[in-house]
């Protein structure tokens, strides 16, 4: 039985804006086990990054976070003080951001920044912290680690900086790592290396990993479980195999048709596309969020809220009024066209 590391239930994020209340995330629930990778995938503005910031309690000041449950390792982290949260952040859960140049402090050496984590959280001595930093830098594949500690972020390449970022996150041996688009700013060749590294380290340290990305190729290769987000909601959730082999929600199906797949998509043919734009999340929406762009939408879709419900198989949920069989049929009919 896998050990549960993170439970998020009914997470909501509301942001007051001049035009009203922006419901950025609307009741998102998921769980992450030790050693498991959850990928949250979706397009810009779907709320995937805010969800990760909410878990870390790093939301911008005016955003309002509510949830039924937010537990790290069966411990409530929802209503704890900022001091307690600061003890957890960087210690028991770490975060890797998209652009390593902006998340590392340019005025301090790599060593200084890495050691600080351990000294702050574990009251370790400078020497202990340095040894741990060297050990982890070697672990993430950086050669001549001891001399690297004296370097500043600008002296490293993008791939190296992201490795340093990963090593830094591992300093305290966290239970959970949240990686927000960790490879988007990197070259494809480096992307593969960093993803491989993350997967290996996750196995070795038995951590939970939440990977936030818009790249479906990355998701398919890395994820154990996938949550597809659209306009503040999870529209489909399941194992990577379930979601990629039996995409059920029309949005998931549409996304998969948008990307050219070498060897599968005929060269030069028209790619699928999702017409329309993402709806505004300001104010209440009492309908299926995807209805405006969905080619199967009926009157019912425009007038009633749709809940997540079980799909074909166990632990594969989707948010659509159509039956799983009907969704599968839709997909089959689209393929030859």
């Amino acid at each position: 039985m896998a050990e549960r590391i993170l439970t998020v239930d009914n997470l909501k994020i509301d942001i007051p804006v001049p035009a009203g209340m922006l419901h950025a995330v609307q009741g998102v629930s998921f769980k992450v086990d030790r050693g498991e990778t959850l990928c949250i995938v979706g397009e810009s503005g779907c709320g995937k990054s805010l969800t990760s910031l909410a878990i870390m309690d790093l939301l911008p000041g005016k955003a309002i976070r509510t949830a039924t449950t937010l537990e790290l390792d069966n411990e409530n982290v929802l209503d704890i003080t900022e001091d307690k949260m600061a003890d957890i952040r960087g210690n028991r859960m770490g975060m890797i951001f998209q652009e390593p140049m902006t998340s590392l402090n340019p005025a301090y050496t790599i060593g200084n920044q890495m050691e600080e984590t351990l000294i702050r959280h574990r009251k370790a001595s400078r020497e202990e912290a340095r040894d741990r930093a060297v050990f982890l830098l070697e672990k993430v594949g950086i050669t001549a680690a001891r001399s690297r500690l004296r370097q500043y972020p600008h002296q490293l390449s993008g791939g190296l900086r992201q490795r340093v970022m990963i090593a830094m996150t591992l300093m305290c041996g966290p239970d959970l790592i949240i990686a927000d688009e960790p490879t988007t700013a990197l070259d494809v060749t480096i992307q593969a290396q960093i993803l491989l590294l993350l997967a290996e380290l996750q196995k070795e340290f038995n951590m939970g990993l939440i990977l936030i990305t818009h790249d479906l190729g990355v998701v398919a290769r890395v994820a154990d479980r996938v949550a597809v987000m659209y306009a503040g909601q999870i529209v489909e959730q399941g194992s990577a195999k379930q979601v990629f082999e039996n995409p059920t929600h029309p949005y998931t199906q549409g996304l998969l048709e948008c990307i050219p797949i070498p060897g599968k998509t005929a060269r030069g043919s028209h790619l699928g596309s999702i017409p329309g734009i993402v709806p505004s999340l300001i104010g209440e929406m009492n309908c299926c969020h995807f209805a405006e762009r969905c080619s199967y939408a009926s009157n019912h879709c425009h007038s009633a809220v749709v809940d997540l419900r079980p799909g074909f198989t166990n632990a594969h949920d989707y948010r659509c009024v159509m039956s799983p069989e009907q969704c599968a049929d839709n997909l089959k009919q689209k393929v030859p066209a």
């Binding site: 994820a223 194992s239 990629f244």
Partner: protein, 324 residues
């Protein structure tokens, strides 16, 4: 018989960069002796990692960057002696980030009609009509004519950039990462649009991209660049099915297709991208090459013609391999 529209011969661009305090300037060979032929109707893709010189090469073809040596001919006339306005009639760019490539203080209408104004078009009364026709062609609603870029989505802004590039009916469009700043669903719309425009307006594209799945989808010819050299060039079919250069193989293996039954591939490109100021000796790829041989570190390979293009690797150089 296909017509050559762009012919780059032995193009070199060297930047002099500062080595730091008390140190002299050092040369950085961003593009180092590149030959590239683009035929009318081709979609030529330049691929490679950041810093391989693909953008510099494109800027030189556009005439935005002076050449250090070599020559670029557009439509059989050397680029260097030509009037900028004449070049702009033939070649137009589309840039990566539609958020920074459009002037936020100008309305969509004035952005799209600016090329007409610059070219001294004789019929100002037809500008609005022509801009609206172009907007329709790229799928922009007419009502945004008076709007500003900040009021448009990323996909719409990229459509504005495309409309601006096409209003003077150029023959070649140079697209630098045209879709990498966009979401997947918008990316597919822009790719479809580029395909349609190509057949409708008989365009030739030079596309720079790091997304090999996109390249395979739209390109007819691919040139793989590494440290300022084109290391392999072939038509898309051949390059993707029978890659010759070890670097091309590694690049192709790093493409992540959405297949949940596969793991993250190991590209075997151990060492990081080399510092272009101090490129490795011999074949510049040898420190990262899985098939490295003894003489790779001492002798630079020459371009070897293949059935469909060329490859620059000692593996295929029979004579040199035997001599070593």
């Amino acid at each position: 018989m296909s017509n050559v529209i762009i012919q780059a011969t032995d193009v070199t661009k060297t930047f002099m960069i500062s080595g730091g305090f008390f140190q002299g300037k050092r040369p950085l060979h961003a593009v180092n002796g590149v030959d590239l032929t683009v035929n009318q109707g081709d979609v030529v893709a330049l691929v490679g990692e950041s810093g391989c010189g693909k953008t510099t090469l494109a800027r030189m073809i556009l005439g935005l960057e002076p050449l250090t040596s070599g020559s670029v001919e557009v439509d059989s006339k050397p680029l260097s002696g030509q009037n900028r306005l004449d070049v702009a009639k033939l070649l137009q760019p589309i840039f990566q980030d539609p958020y920074s490539s459009l002037n936020p203080r100008k309305s969509i209408g004035s952005i799209i009609t600016l090329p007409l104004k610059v070219q001294g078009d004789q019929n100002p009364d037809t500008w609005r009509r022509r801009a609206e026709e172009m907007m329709e062609l790229v799928g922009l609603p007419r009502r945004v004519f008076q709007n500003y870029p900040s009021q448009l989505s990323g996909g719409q802004r990229q459509r504005v950039a495309i409309a601006r590039a096409l209003i003077n009916r150029p023959r070649v469009v140079i697209c630098d990462e045209p879709t990498s700043a966009l979401d997947v669903s918008v990316q597919s719309q822009i790719l479809n649009l580029l395909q349609d425009l190509r057949s409708e307006l008989n365009l030739t594209y030079v596309i720079i991209s790091h997304n090999l799945a996109v390249v395979e989808h739209i390109a007819t010819k691919v040139a793989v660049m590494y440290l300022g050299r084109i290391v392999e060039e072939a038509d898309t079919e051949t390059l993707f099915t029978k890659p010759q250069h070890p670097y091309t193989e590694a690049l192709l293996s790093s493409v992540l297709t959405p297949d949940p039954n596969l793991d993250v591939p190991d590209t075997h490109l151990g060492a990081a991208y080399p510092n272009p100021v101090e490129p490795p000796s011999g074949c510049t790829f040898h420190p990262r090459c899985a098939k490295v041989m003894d003489h790779c570190s001492t002798r630079s390979p020459k371009a070897i013609p293949t059935s469909e293009g060329s490859v620059e690797c000692h593996l295929y150089d029979k004579a040199q391999g035997a001599a070593a």
